[in-house]
Each structure stands twice: as structure tokens, then as C-alpha cells.
């Protein structure tokens, strides 16, 4: 089974690359700081967004019904998918109905979560991702490593090599301007020849039945407006009550994500254009279960800005792939265990609980507190390491018994052997790259009994 610590250790074999990855994402975090600090009432805006989302979660069923009714009235075909499999089957059925074998797709983390590309390929349908970063990782046959910056782990030289191999750019070409132009030309012909386009959804408005898609590249619009069939996939938690609430979220989203004041395009899709079909798929896939977990339901407020990844000191130094799930980083680590507790039991532990994620979150999800709470759940459900459990039981015993603690202390700080960082032997990871302080002759307790009593 994949484990974050192992994958992170591999990532850390190339320290220079870790430094580069860390600096690149730190730069994005700094851009976010600059943008957010320009809004004097930023913290109130976050609070407002958080309250709106709480209202949505508390009345979600009614909002879903309202949204569905409006969307149908607008001429949109609404589908419901209980899980990833059903979502993929719905997409496939729509394509089959139109005899379409090739589709263009703009960024949708939901389709990553559902492994849609893989499913469609098995059905003989070709999918081309049109977001530049997503296209790059698709050509490299890798998943995205970041929800907003899918190929942030790739260096331009590596991208140049991929483009040379797949898109025929000049060997050794690594100028981002020229590489982007290569992708523009390649994807333009894709947009012009695909009859179906799938997009994600950033926000859907219950009041009006419309949905908003945000991109910088314009790829969602190029796909959707040129296609005969537009399929939009959204998690059921993406709803907001009324159009006026969009103002709050569009102010927060991109400032948090990249430090831009807004994405280049915030497209409001309401009705299909004449002659076009518009399908909208509402996907549950575990969300209603998460909604029922009181300690974790706030994770459904997430608007997928990626700020928690950019600020996370662990994410920056372990890379998105070390989280082995579609949504990496702190938010992914509180979402994934809901989908599969065993497979993702490691993720809530891939954190120092420093709390920076909760501070940058535009909808004020208590991410680091949820990481702590997931740890308790995972251990109680029996997904912890057996050896660790024994050590913890021994440590708990010693620390509950002052006399055992004192004796242990006298005998050369033996108590600390249960603290996993204290035993000086070659098997203890602490000592691989660190020393421990030399134990002093007296503990404070011993000093105190000599000097104060």
C-alpha cells in the first residue's frame, strides 16, 4: 500500500528539486498574501463565505431540488450520480447517444476523483485535457500534482522534452512562451474538431439554475462554445443559494489561489445555445456521508483554491504525488479518508498540525483540527500501526504513573525511550540526520527537590 512518508522520502532524494518545488509554491503563497492583504476586510469576507457555505450544507437537499428545477426550466438536462462509476457511465451514455468517440475536457478535479479519463479510454473514447498543465501531465501519463497548478512538479526542460516527443516542438526548446504557443496551436485544432466538451463547475446557483466556470486560459469556453454537447460535472456541495453570493466567492477564489484579483474568465452558463445540448451531472460520491460526519462536514465547504497546498510546508517538500489521491495536500488529507479510510489512513498523519492551512482557507475550514480528529478516528477504527500502538500504550502507562516516570528518569531517561525520537540507535530515524541533546546529570524535578525544599 502506498504511504505518504515513503513517497516523500523518494521525493526528498533530490534536495535541489525539493528546494525548487518549495520556492515555486512559496512564491504563489506570497502572491496570495499580497492580494489578500489589499482587501481590508478580508477576514470578514472569509467568515461570510464560511457562513454561506454552512447554510448551503444545512439545507442542501432543498437547494439541490431548487437548482434542478431551475436548470431544467433553462433547458439543461440534469443527471444524478450516486458514485464515481455512475458518473462515468452517464458521461459515456451521453457520448454514445451522439456517436461521439472523442471529447475535450477542461479542468475538473471531480473527473480526476472519478478516474473518468481511464474509464472512457477503456470504452474506446479519447479524451484530451485542454488546460495546459493538465495536458502536460496527460502527455506525461501522470495525474495532476496540484488542483490549480497541475504540473507544478515539472521543470520546463522536462515539459520541452514531452512536447518534443508528442507535439513536435524543437528538441531542447524550453521557453515557456514558445511551449505555450505550441500547445495553443495543438489544442485549437482539438477545440475545433470535438463535438463534445466536458467542463467542471466552480459554483452553481440554486436560485437561477446557472453555473459558473472559472479559467484563465479560456479553455472551458473554447471547448463548450464550439461543441454540440456540453457536459458539466459537479459535486453536490458546489451549490450556493443566490447569484449575489457569487460576489463573495469570486472575490476570494483567485486571490487565494494565485493572487490574481479574479480569473480571466468567470463564465456564467445558464441555457444551452440554440442547437446545443447542455447536460449537468450532480455527483455525490461520498459527499452525503461526509456531510453526516459532524467533525468533518466543513470540509465540504472547499472551493478548490489550493491555498492550503501552497502554504503547507509538508506539501511543498513532498510534492502532490506523495498524497496518492486526486486532491493532494491538507484538504485532500481530510477528504480522502472519507472515501477509503484504509487506503488513505496515512494522510492525516502527513502534517505537523502547524495550522497555516486553516489560516489561508478562504472558507475557514478548520483543516488542521480535522487532521487531528481524523487521526483519532483512524486509530480507533484499527488502521494504525500495531507496533506504534504497543509503544503508545507503554508510554501512556509510564506517563500516568509518577513513580514509574521518576525511576525511568533516574535510570538514564529511560522514559524517553517511548518517545519515538529518543533512542539513540541506528534504527531510530531521529538519528539519521539529527542528534539528541546529551541528558543532563539532573532532571528539573531532581534539581527542584534539592534547591527548593
Amino acid at each position: 500500500m502506498k504511504h505518504h512518508a515513503d513517497l516523500a522520502e523518494v521525493f526528498n532524494k533530490d534536495e535541489e528539486r525539493v528546494d525548487w518545488h518549495d520556492e515555486t509554491l512559496w512564491w504563489v503563497r506570497q502572491k496570495r498574501d499580497k492580494a489578500s492583504h489589499q482587501i481590508p476586510d478580508w477576514e470578514e469576507l472569509r467568515e461570510t463565505a464560511s457562513q454561506i457555505k454552512l447554510n448551503v450544507l444545512s439545507d442542501l437537499a432543498n437547494y439541490l431540488e431548487q437548482f434542478e428545477k431551475q436548470a431544467i426550466a433553462n433547458g439543461v438536462t440534469v443527471h444524478w450520480a450516486a458514485d464515481a462509476k455512475e458518473h462515468n457511465q452517464i458521461v459515456h451514455a451521453i457520448l454514445q447517444e451522439h456517436g461521439i468517440t472523442q471529447m475535450v475536457k477542461s479542468k475538473s478535479m471531480l473527473t480526476e476523483e472519478c478516474h473518468l479519463n481511464h474509464y472512457l479510454e477503456e470504452q474506446g473514447i479519447g479524451v484530451i485535457d485542454s488546460d495546459l498543465g493538465e495536458r502536460i501531465v496527460q502527455l506525461a501519463n501522470e495525474p495532476p500534482s496540484h488542483i490549480v497548478l497541475p504540473c507544478i512538479h515539472k521543470k520546463k526542460e522536462e515539459i520541452g522534452e514531452i512536447f518534443h516527443e508528442h507535439l513536435g516542438s524543437k528538441k531542447g526548446e524550453d521557453d515557456p512562451q514558445i511551449l505555450t504557443e505550441t500547445a495553443r496551436t495543438h489544442l485549437r485544432s482539438t477545440f475545433l474538431t470535438r463535438k463534445a466538451a466536458l467542463t467542471g463547475v466552480n459554483f452553481a446557483v440554486a436560485e437561477t439554475g446557472e453555473f459558473v466556470v472559472c479559467t484563465n486560459e479560456g479553455n472551458a469556453d473554447m471547448g463548450a462554445h464550439l461543441a454540440d454537447v456540453h457536459i458539466a460535472s459537479m459535486g453536490i456541495e458546489k451549490l450556493i443559494p443566490q447569484r449575489k453570493h457569487l460576489g463573495v466567492f469570486l472575490r476570494l477564489l483567485t486571490r487565494s489561489a494565485t493572487g490574481q484579483p479574479i480569473t480571466t474568465y468567470s463564465s456564467h452558463f445558464k441555457k444551452p445555445r440554440p442547437g446545443q445540448q447542455m447536460h449537468l451531472i450532480l455527483v455525490d460520491n461520498g459527499r452525503s456521508i461526509q456531510l453526516g460526519r459532524e467533525d468533518f462536514r466543513n470540509s465540504l465547504k472547499c472551493i478548490r483554491c489550493g491555498a492550503c497546498m501552497n502554504t503547507c510546508p509538508v506539501y511543498r517538500r513532498s510534492g502532490g504525488h506523495s498524497y496518492h489521491t486526486a486532491v493532494a495536500g491538507p484538504i485532500g488529507s481530510i477528504l480522502a479518508p472519507n472515501l477509503d479510510m484504509k487506503q488513505y489512513a496515512d494522510l492525516p498523519f502527513a502534517s505537523t498540525l502547524c495550522g497555516s492551512c486553516s489560516n489561508v482557507c478562504p472558507v475557514k475550514i478548520d483543516i488542521h483540527d480535522q487532521l487531528y480528529k481524523w487521526r483519532q478516528v483512524i486509530i480507533k477504527e484499527g488502521y494504525g500501526d500495531k507496533k506504534k500502538t504497543l509503544a503508545m500504550q507503554a508510554m501512556a502507562f509510564t506517563l500516568s504513573n509518577p513513580s514509574a516516570y521518576r525511576i525511568a528518569g533516574k535510570a538514564g531517561r529511560v522514559v524517553m525511550k517511548y518517545a519515538p525520537f529518543a533512542v539513540n540507535n541506528s534504527l531510530n530515524p531521529w538519528y539519521k540526520q539529527r542528534d539528541m541533546p546529551k541528558p543532563p546529570k539532573q532532571s528539573f524535578g531532581e534539581w527542584y527537590s534539592e534547591h527548593r525544599k
Binding site: A5, A8, E9, F11, N12, E15, S36, H37, W42, E43, P313, V314, R317, P348, F349, A350, S351, T352, L353, C354, G355, S356, S358, N359, V360, Y372, R375, Q376, I379, K380, K388, M392, M395, A396, T398, L399, S400, N401, P402, Y405, G409, A419, P420, F421, N428, W430, K432, Q433, R434, D435, M436, P437, P439, P440, Q442, S443, F444, G445, W447, R452
Partner: protein
Amino acid sequence: MKVGLFIPCYVDQFYPNAAIATLELLEKQGIAVGYPARQTCCGQPMANSGYEHLTEGCNSLFVDNFAGYDYIVTPSGSCALHLKEHLHTKKNNGVALGMRKKIYELTEFLTDVLKVKKLDAKFPHRVGLHQSCHGQRGLKLAQMTELTAAPFSKPAALLGMVEGVELVPLTRPDECCGFGGTFCVAEEAVSVKMGKDRVADHEQNGAEYITAADLSCLMHMEGILHRKNSSVKVIHIAEILNGVKEEVV
């Protein structure tokens, strides 16, 4: 005012000087400080590893030890935060929950309760202040760079009262050092890399000492500094604020 001194297990065992400095510093303020002899640990090592359910013994011991005090002061932001957020017992929960409000980290206590304005201390060195996450983001000992809010720092303000202290600016003033409890061994590679980067920030900005209100971070950074034979030393903030360094050895 009756103040109970809580010295966390690893401070008791490895850093008695920091504990002595804390005691003396409080005594100099004219406070009667008691030190319950049967104390051990706050329970955080188990709880942060997902074993909060094993902390009952530790917690009830803590409650028994400190029940009679008006305030409980500890030179560790992390332990203070854990107790404030999670202290509970089956047999005496009312007392435990009430106790959460009486627990203070040292610099917080000096600033908010004693309202210290002056210190008789001298430390003529360039000092880098490590903002331990649990102290800073958990106890709000200092403003956090993520927020759009006015800056302040309780530890820095206290250090400003010590003659000769020159605080060095840091490139990343509140990035985590990577200790993280059992994270430091469970995620050894990332933990060490975070520690190395944090230490490098202090070194590059000319710090002679790295100080903090949390020894767990300092122990981790000291381990890295020591391994690479760096001349930069770590020192708990209580020792600087107390102005004297009494060696136990």
C-alpha cells in the same frame, strides 16, 4: 495568586535549565510558585498520534496535581495548547474543563496576566525568534502572516525588554520547523528538510541564537545544527528573559 509550574516531560528530562529559568523568572515577579512533584506529561505525544483515548491516566494525574492553583504556567506553547483544547477526564471533567482556562504559556502569562513592562536582563546577541506554530497559531502569541490583521508578538515584545538583544529578521517569519511530535520520525525525510530550511533562514540572517517559547522545536533544530557542527545555538526564551544562565551540570 497561586501559580503551579508545569514542566513538560522532555523539558524536565533534557532541558532543566529552561525550567529553572522559568521558575526564577516567575519568582522574581514576586509570585508564589508551586511545583507539584508528581507531574509528568500533558498527554500530547499520544493524542497527536491518534491515541487521545489513551490519555485518561495522564489527564487525571494532571488534574490531581494542579487542582489547587489559580494559574498553571508552562514554558511550552505546544503543551499549553494541547491542555487548553483537550484536557478532560472521566472522573472529574468539570474541574478539567475549568482548568483549561487557567493554563498559560509562559510569555502569554507574563504579558497578559502579570503585564510585565520591564525586565532586568541582558543578552547581547543577535537572536532569531522561532515562532512555534502551536504557540503562534494556536495560542495567538503573535500575529500570523496569513491573516490580514495588525502585527503583534508577545515573545518579541518581551525580548525587546532585554538589554542587548538584537532580533534578526527572517525570510519566512512563521514557517513550521517540522518537528510535529511523532511526525519527526514517522515522516523523517520531510521533517528534517523542514528543520534544515528553518535553521538556514536563521543562519543566513545572522542569528547567533535561535530562541522560542517551545523546546520541542528547539530540540529538533538543535539536533540538526549539532549534526552539521553549526556555531548557532538554541536557547529557550525563559533563559534570555531571566538573564542568568545557571548550569545544572
